[in-house]
Every structure is written in C-alpha cells, then in structure tokens.
Symmetry: C2
Subunit: 151 residues, 2 copies
C-alpha cells in the first residue's frame, strides 16, 4: 500500500502558484488572474500548468474551488489550516452579488440551521460548499438610495 505513493517534485511553478494563493488567502482568485499576476512578477506559468496545479492543490485540500454565479469561470481560495483540518462546520460564506466581496462567517447560531435542516428535512448541509448570496451592508445602503431616487 505504501509503494503506491507517487513522488512529487518541487518546482518553481508550483511554489509560485502556492505563494500567490497564500498571499491572497483572504480573496478568491481566478485562474486567469493567477496567470496574469505571475506574468507581472516575471515568473509566467502556462495555463495548463496552472490548472493542473490547482487541481492537485484542491485534491490535497490546500485550496478550495468555488464557482461564481457570474460568467463561467471558477475561482480558488487558499484554505490553509482550515481547509486541511476540514472540520469547520460552523463556517459559511456570504457573497455580495453587488460588489463581490466574500465574507467569512463564523457563527455558532448557524449550526442551528444545519441541525434543523438535517433533523426536520433529512438533508445534511455542507457549509464548506454553501455560499449565501445577497447584499453586504454597504451595497444594501446604496440600493436603498438608488431605489428611493428611482421612484
């Protein structure tokens, strides 16, 4: 069983990609953005390599893949210890459909949701995969102003 493990090489490209993701751990980055950023750093990495590494990092649990509701481009976010542990049951994401900000929500109260839905509706919610879409406080303020002036 132990002989089945494949050797992994340490390459410049892999290091570059992981570094950028770590430095931007508070954001989610697209493959295109990642490639572009590495070009600007003087260490360009091919698209194929970027996608292959992202796929691997995701499989290793170091980064997490998301899909925006916008255009069909995926994005990734460095998960660090959280992603490695994989035991973050009370952690949800809030994504503002207006400005795109991604808010990490650690709240005990929300564990009630998963428990309620599981017990009363027989569905096990996976917080790691679930994102709430809506308006952040800043954008909600803008919308009210806009609606008021529209009418």
């Amino acid at each position: 069983m132990t002989g089945n493990r494949k050797n992994e090489y340490q390459t410049k490209q892999k290091t570059q990609i992981l570094s950028y993701l770590e430095e931007n751990a508070t954001r989610h980055v697209t493959a295109g953005e990642l490639m572009h950023a590495l070009v600007e750093r003087g260490t360009p990495v091919g698209a194929a390599t970027v996608y292959r590494q992202l796929e691997r990092l995701e499989a290793q649990g170091l980064v997490r893949r998301y899909t925006l509701d916008d255009r069909g481009s995926a994005c990734w976010q460095y998960g660090g210890a959280e992603a490695k542990a994989g035991t973050c049951h009370s952690h949800f994401h809030l994504k503002c459909v207006c400005c795109g900000i991604l808010i990490h929500l650690d709240c005990e109260h929300l564990t009630e949701i998963t428990e309620h839905v599981e017990q009363d509706h027989g569905f096990q919610i996976d917080p790691a995969r679930t994102t709430f879409y809506g308006l952040c406080d800043r954008c909600a303020g803008k919308q009210e102003v806009q609606n008021a002036s529209d009418k």
Copy 2:
C-alpha cells in the same frame, strides 16, 4: 410608459422551449440538454435562439438561472407562478452534491436565518439566489455504508 412595450412574436421555437421547461419544471435543465431534447423531438432549435430565449424568459421572470458548482455550464428552471410572484422570501434550495436532486425548501424556521444574519452580521441574504449544498437523506445513507466498508 405603455408605448415603450415591444411587440413580441409567437414562434414555434419559443413555444417548444417553454413547453420543455414547463414539462420539466421539477428539474433544472442546461442549454445543451434543452437543445438535445428538442432535436430528439424533431423540432431542433439553434443554440443562439435557445440562449436568446432563455435570456428573455429569465428577464420576464418565467424561468430562473442557476449556476452549478460543477463545470461552467448554467442551467435554468421553470419557475411558474412562484417565479412570477417573486415574493418567496422563505424559500431556499437544497442541492444534493451526490445525486444532484434539487429540493425546494419552504420553511418558516429559515426566515430566522436571514433575519439573524441581517441583524447581527449586516448582510441581506437573497434566498432566491442561495442554494445549500450537501447530501440528501438517500445519498447520506449510501455514504455511511460506503465509509463503513472502506475502513
């Protein structure tokens, strides 16, 4: 205001598309699936037309556009009266990441979530855009069996 309304023509293609969506109102269908189905019915519709009609139907509020977390292909679902009304604040969706079933969840309890998040975290959740991902009861049972036999 009334003179601004554009004339809309009734075409075979539009009827076919809407019919298929209505017949499959319990599911979400991709553009590709829709096209393929119409070919099999002997009434093929071009891709451009499919996307243009879906865009229009969405703007009219008759169907709703979703984005799966899988590949970058969107999907649509006929919303009927619910989508038309657009006042379904306590309605969330549960999507099983295993079998793909989409469950509509009308539950008073969940309005508490939106209220809590809005009051304590300053974020207005839009239930219509939010989907909970996880495991349905049937697939949850399968997984347990699988995990038990894996170890």
